[in-house]
């Protein structure tokens, strides 16, 4: 076919060309500047505007930050030191630091929330970092009870008795495995419930009488500041996980009743603002519980926040389930695993892993939303800022408190969101 060819085309390169440096217009600051800052009139305008904005911000806030005062016990003192100049009075943070962090938690017991926080990281480390040995998961299972005991104190038998209920449930799962899963499921749910309702209380009393192992108890109304935000956020997410899983499964169920109950619940919760649920916790929950029941506000808030988070969690987990190929369900079926075993051994471990980044995002959202508890009189950081500003010493202070609170939230949320992004990237390459 090449016979129609006009001229010879043969060419062979004898020596390869070495790479050369690009022309000078292609490298260095000049090119970088031209390409990134001054490429075309629009870009030049944008650059100038941005520089002006940055300049303006620095001019406006620079002196204020530059004149920061750290050692002052009241605003008046600050004003005296500043002597008319504009400047930040960070003395308020120093003065109220323990309060903003721990609220009214007894100062001699600060080590307890701190330990609880450190142990929390240990407990979730196997989930977050694949290199952590799997054995740590046992600690993760113990942590909720340990954490509760560290934070609230009191007799150690309370958490132990509650934990026993779970052990009981697990034992029943093992024991009733050969019966119909339906019967055993009912059994496994009902027996521990009965235990918690009727046996656990007397058991705790009995055990405390025998071996009074107790630490100083701290009622939750003494919690405040970031401690309260963290407690509400973390327990909301942790408790909402199992409920969210059930709701997600319910929403996928082919039984209409269960499906619609789940859908209605999820859509209801997602359709109303969190603040109305918080008001429900503070104003209405007592209407719905038997007359005379009365437990403290933070606990009620945790209940409502858990319900709130579980609706969002359900959607997150539904996303994780949807990402699983059908083949996984079929393979489990074909091996003879029943629904619950398949869920527990095959589906959930994978779906949850896929969902971790979204769970982290949900947590960030929830953590930010905990600031709304200020509306029902819980002294979270914002609430404490208001209370601080109501004291004679600090009446009139403003920016410093909110900048500080905002910065702490930022550090928390930003690092978590970065972590979840890196996790997402890792999962993308991990998963087949």
């Amino acid at each position: 076919m090449s016979d129609t060819h006009a001229h010879t085309v043969r060419f062979v390169r004898e020596t390869m060309l070495p790479p050369q440096d690009p022309p000078s217009s292609q490298i260095g600051m000049v090119r970088w500047g031209r390409e990134n800052l001054f490429d075309g009139p629009l870009n030049i305008i944008l650059t100038v505007i941005s520089l002006l904005v940055v300049l303006f911000l620095v001019m406006e806030m620079g002196p204020w930050f530059a004149n920061s005062i750290w050692n002052a016990n009241s605003l008046t003192e600050c004003r005296q030191i500043l002597d008319g100049a504009s400047g930040a009075c960070w003395g308020v943070i120093k003065d109220r630091w323990p309060q903003l962090m721990f609220g009214f938690y007894p100062p001699e017991l600060y080590w307890r929330p701190v330990t609880a926080l450190v142990l929390l990281f240990v407990a979730i480390s196997p989930v977050l970092f694949p290199s952590v040995p799997k054995k740590v998961l046992y600690f993760t299972m113990v942590y909720p009870f340990l954490g509760v005991w560290l934070l609230w104190g009191g007799t150690i038998w309370g958490p132990v008795a509650v934990a026993l209920g779970f052990v009981l449930g697990y034992g029943l799962v093992r024991a009733t495995a050969q019966f119909s899963t339906l019967l055993s499921a009912a059994f496994v749910v009902i027996v521990p419930l009965l235990y918690w309702l009727f046996v656990a209380g007397p058991l705790v009393d009995a055990l405390s009488a025998i071996a009074p192992l107790a630490s100083q108890s701290v009622p939750s109304r003494e919690f405040g500041g970031f401690l309260v935000s963290l407690v509400i956020g973390v327990s909301g997410i942790a408790l909402s996980l199992p409920i969210g899983i059930l709701l997600a499964l319910g929403r996928q169920s082919n039984m209409p009743l269960i499906k619609y109950v789940s859908v209605v619940f999820i859509e209801f919760i997602r359709g109303v603002p969190l603040i109305t649920l918080l008001f429900t916790a503070s104003l209405l929950l007592n209407y719905f519980l038997p007359p005379g029941t009365n437990f403290d506000l933070i606990l009620r808030v945790i209940i409502m926040v858990t319900l709130f988070a579980s609706a969002y969690m359900a959607e997150v987990i539904r996303g994780g389930l949807a990402a699983l190929p059908r083949g996984q369900y079929e393979a489990a079926d074909a091996l003879g695993l029943d629904y619950w075993k398949a869920q527990r051994l095959i589906i959930m471990p994978q779906a949850l892993k896929i969902s971790i980044p979204s769970i982290v995002s949900t947590f960030i959202g929830l953590f930010k939303d905990t600031t709304l508890v200020v509306f029902i009189g819980i002294l979270d950081p914002i609430g404490l800022a208001n209370a601080t500003r109501a004291s004679s010493d600090w009446q009139g202070i403003y920016w410093e408190l909110f900048i500080f609170i905002g910065a702490v939230f930022f550090i928390f949320c930003f690092s978590m969101s970065r972590y979840s992004m890196s996790l997402e990237r890792r999962l993308k390459t991990d998963h087949r």
Binding site: A177, P325, G327, Q328, E330, A331, D333, A334, L335, G336, L337, D338, K341, L345, I346, P349, Q350, K353, D430, H431, R432
Partner: protein, 249 residues
């Protein structure tokens, strides 16, 4: 390779619909113990559906399927019984990516058969050796090649000591180099007398080990014959057309 007279699977007059679409029409099929059957047919002819009905991954709406003496009905106990007797290998392996190979293999024996863990692991290693990859036991599926994964999938089914094995195009998702290693494993299995139903387009395999080739089209069994006759002397027009297509290219 002996075929006994005992019936392993008995399908009578079975029909299945997806919505109003009639996928399987009046299927009658008897498989004896030790038989090795290859099912072929154009895409969409219902081969996968048929095979999936046999362990109730799909529900049939009319007719009877009796596997190893147990009738498949809506009774869960029967379904469980059948499923633990029948192993299945899928086109896309469907290994569990979050478990090691060994855990993949011991999962069902431990949780369904209640085998002690130690014993389950021994069985698992035995079958891994049989499919010639014992050294991969502690890796994760994602670290294996497609052919190795499919062999693990076969071993996983075998660990449940099934009396019947179903294969749904086990080699069609594999690169050509890997097809052979999987087929070798299957041939070995066939030689040991396992009852097998296999949907495949590997005609070499069919000729080598099948007792019978079944040709399906439009949800019905169109032709059934011994491999040699089937390939060299097809009766129906459709079969001829089909054979010319797959052998031609």
């Amino acid at each position: 390779m002996q075929v006994s007279d005992e019936v392993a699977i008995q399908i009578t007059n079975m029909n299945k619909w997806y919505g109003s679409f009639h996928v399987l029409r009046d299927i009658d099929l008897t498989v004896n113990r030790g038989e090795r059957i290859v099912i072929a047919g154009p895409s969409g002819s219902g081969k996968s559906t048929l095979i999936r009905c046999i362990n109730r991954l799909e529900e049939h709406q009319a007719g009877q399927i009796i596997v190893d003496g147990t009738e498949l009905s809506s009774d869960l106990k029967n379904i469980d019984k059948v499923r633990s007797e029948v192993g299945m290998v899928f086109q896309h392996f469907n290994l569990f990516p979050h478990l090691t190979i060994l855990e993949n293999l011991t999962l069902a024996p431990i949780w369904v058969r209640k085998t002690p863990k130690r014993e389950a692991e021994e069985t698992a290693m035995y079958f891994l050796e049989k499919v010639k990859i014992p050294e991969q036991a502690l890796k994760y599926p994602g670290q294996l090649s497609g052919g190795q994964q499919q062999r693990v999938a076969i071993a996983r089914s075998l660990c449940m000591k099934p009396r019947i094995m179903l294969f749904d195009e086990p080699t069609s998702a594999l690169d050509p180099e890997m097809i052979k290693e999987v087929l070798d494993t299957m041939i070995q299995l066939a030689e040991e007398g396992m009852t097998m139903l296999c949907v495949t387009h590997e005609m070499g395999f069919a000729q080598a080990v099948a007792n019978r080739v079944i040709f399906m089209d439009q949800g019905q069994i169109v032709e059934q014959n011994e491999p040699y006759e089937f390939f060299n002397n097809p009766q129906s027009e459709r079969t001829k057309l089909f054979l010319s297509q797959i052998l031609g290219h």
